[in-house]
């Protein structure tokens, strides 16, 4: 093979290599620069709390005729979201051992109980919450919710325990957050 031909193939190979590498490098550099231009997450000014509407399989209202005062659609959404997120926070606390989210959704003695529970070295899962609004105060700050027969699964070193539970929960609106303040759990 002549010297010129070798040079040509080296050049051709270099060009063939340079094009994809250049494109990938350009894309990476673009995304890197773009990252600096996104600014703060606008939702962060709302203290990071998001309204999560659980799916029907996760949680749903089966009755919304409480004593006291009727709740609006928005209030019902806030309540069911907070209720679901409270159980999610408990599940995550069990899973990770990080209790930081618990005070957002649990308060008072219920918070203490949730903390002790999360430190017991087990994992829990929950689903199928069917909620009945039992009481709603006229200033929209206190609610009692009955959860009829949801699935509660506990896993520990000795195995998996599939349980069905009915709970009655008192939630209070503290600083804009619905929090579980009191509860009673009955295993069926």
């Amino acid at each position: 093979m002549s010297k010129d031909k070798v040079k040509f193939w080296i050049f051709a190979f270099g060009i063939a290599l340079l094009i994809p590498v250049g494109l990938i490098g350009f894309a990476l550099m673009s995304s890197f620069i773009a990252e600096f231009n996104t600014g703060a997450d606008p939702a962060s000014i709302f203290r990071g709390h998001s309204l999560y509407a659980p799916s029907v399989e996760e949680a749903q209202w089966v009755s919304i005729q409480p004593e006291g005062t009727a709740a609006t659609e928005v209030e019902l959404e806030e309540l069911i979201s907070a209720y679901w997120l409270a159980w999610e926070a408990l599940e995550q606390a069990h899973l990770t051992g990080n209790l930081a989210d618990l005070p957002t959704y649990w308060a008072g003695d219920a918070l203490d109980a949730a903390r002790r529970s999360a430190e017991s070295g087990i994992t829990v899962t929950h689903s199928g919450h069917r909620l009945r609004l039992v009481f709603f105060s006229d200033d929209s700050s206190v609610a009692v919710v009955r959860d009829l027969g949801f699935s509660y699964t506990v896993t520990d070193a000795s195995g998996v325990y599939a349980l069905t539970a009915t709970t009655e929960i008192v939630l209070t609106l503290d600083n804009g957050f619905w929090r579980i303040r009191q509860y009673n759990v009955d295993f069926l």
Partner: protein
């Protein structure tokens, strides 16, 4: 190599193991005949090949029979149907096979609490799980689960809450209009010493003491520790003391009964005559009272109309004031005050070069 069993008594020949198995290993004929064979061995014992195999298989047979016994055995849980939250109690676990040394996994679920233990059966296949005081503290319908040999036995254990020991008193109206013209809600949250909603029999006695000394008492049943009632204002403005007792729980709260909206405004001016030299200050003072003649609540906004302008003042201790410089031109000036739709009678300021009386 085949060995021959020598019998010292005349018996039917001992069947071989394969024959015995064909006839059924638990045949009542087979084992006695073997026993006779061992006893009859004399000084020089000789065993058949079947017996040797059986002897080798004995440990396996024992193990197999043990496992089938564990599979067949059921664990029985004896526990109190109801215990008080925080009390010490115990559960008795019995394995029906009666085997000692069997391990049984136990778990108790009560509220968010979860307690596990592995117990080992003793004589008669019985074990005891003692739960100390202040361990199971969360009330509700709990469940005790025992697992043994792939089987599970559940037993309900109701954890009864204690007496009401703590109370929170919440109102939906910190201030409401007096004279029975408004109502609010009082909510009581009751808990026992462990934070559980207390037992159902715990009633909350809610007493309201109105400014005039009148008292109203409500007896409230609770649900999940929450008891509530509507209440109405009564009498003149002032403080309503709210007190709740439920067993050993106490809580207090104060609600303010406030006057109604301004129904009448009386406007005064000081002085009513001034010189147009720009050195006098005119003080307008408005006293606003509600329909019962009681000064309106502090902070009520009063608008002062000054003819060619206006100013605002807030009521403090029943009156709102506004200080303005006297006009620089002689004449008769007209002022009035208003709050909402209520307006005072007009008053006049005379500005003159002459000497005021």
């Amino acid at each position: 190599m085949t060995r021959k069993i020598t019998l010292n008594t005349p018996h039917p020949p001992t069947p071989s193991l394969s024959q015995a198995i064909e006839r059924g290993s638990r045949s009542p004929v087979f084992l006695p005949s073997l026993t006779r064979g061992w006893r009859g061995a004399g000084g020089e014992e000789q065993y058949s090949k079947g017996v040797r195999i059986l002897l080798l298989l004995l440990p396996l047979l024992f193990a197999f029979s043990g496992s089938t016994a564990q599979q067949a055995a059921v664990v029985i849980v004896r526990a109190p149907a109801a215990v008080t939250a925080g009390a010490a109690w115990s559960a008795e676990i019995e394995v029906t096979s009666g085997s000692a040394g069997e391990k049984v996994d136990l778990a108790v679920f009560s509220g968010l609490q979860h307690l596990t233990e592995q117990v080992t059966t003793g004589t008669g296949g019985v074990a005891r799980w003692a739960i100390p005081a202040n361990v199971i503290t969360q009330a509700g319908e709990g469940v005790l689960i025992a697992r043994y040999g792939g089987e599970e036995t559940r037993r309900s254990v109701r954890v009864i809450p204690g007496r009401a020991a703590q109370a929170d008193l919440i109102t939906t109206a910190n201030a409401l209009r007096a004279y029975g013209e408004a109502r609010g809600t009082l909510i009581v949250l009751l808990r026992d010493e462990f934070g559980n909603p207390p037992r159902e029999s715990a009633e909350a006695a809610l007493t309201l003491t109105y400014p005039g000394g009148d008292q109203t008492t409500f007896m409230l049943a609770h649900r999940t520790g929450l008891a509530w009632t509507w209440f109405s204002s009564m009498g003149d403005p002032g403080r309503v003391r709210v007190h709740v007792t439920a067993e050993s729980a106490l809580a207090d709260l104060e609600v303010r009964q406030v006057p109604g909206e301004a129904a009448s405004i009386t406007l005064a001016i000081t002085p009513s005559c001034a010189a147009p030299d720009g050195r006098d200050v005119i003080r307008l003072s408005a006293q606003a009272v509600d329909s019962h003649g009681v000064p309106v609540v502090d902070g009520t906004l009063i608008r002062f109309d000054l003819g060619d302008g206006f100013g605002f003042g807030r009521v403090a201790n029943g009156s709102a004031t506004l200080s303005i410089p006297a006009p620089l031109q002689a004449g008769l000036y007209r002022y009035h005050a208003s709050s909402g739709s209520v307006r005072s009678r007009s008053i006049f300021l005379r500005v003159t070069d002459e000497v005021c009386p």
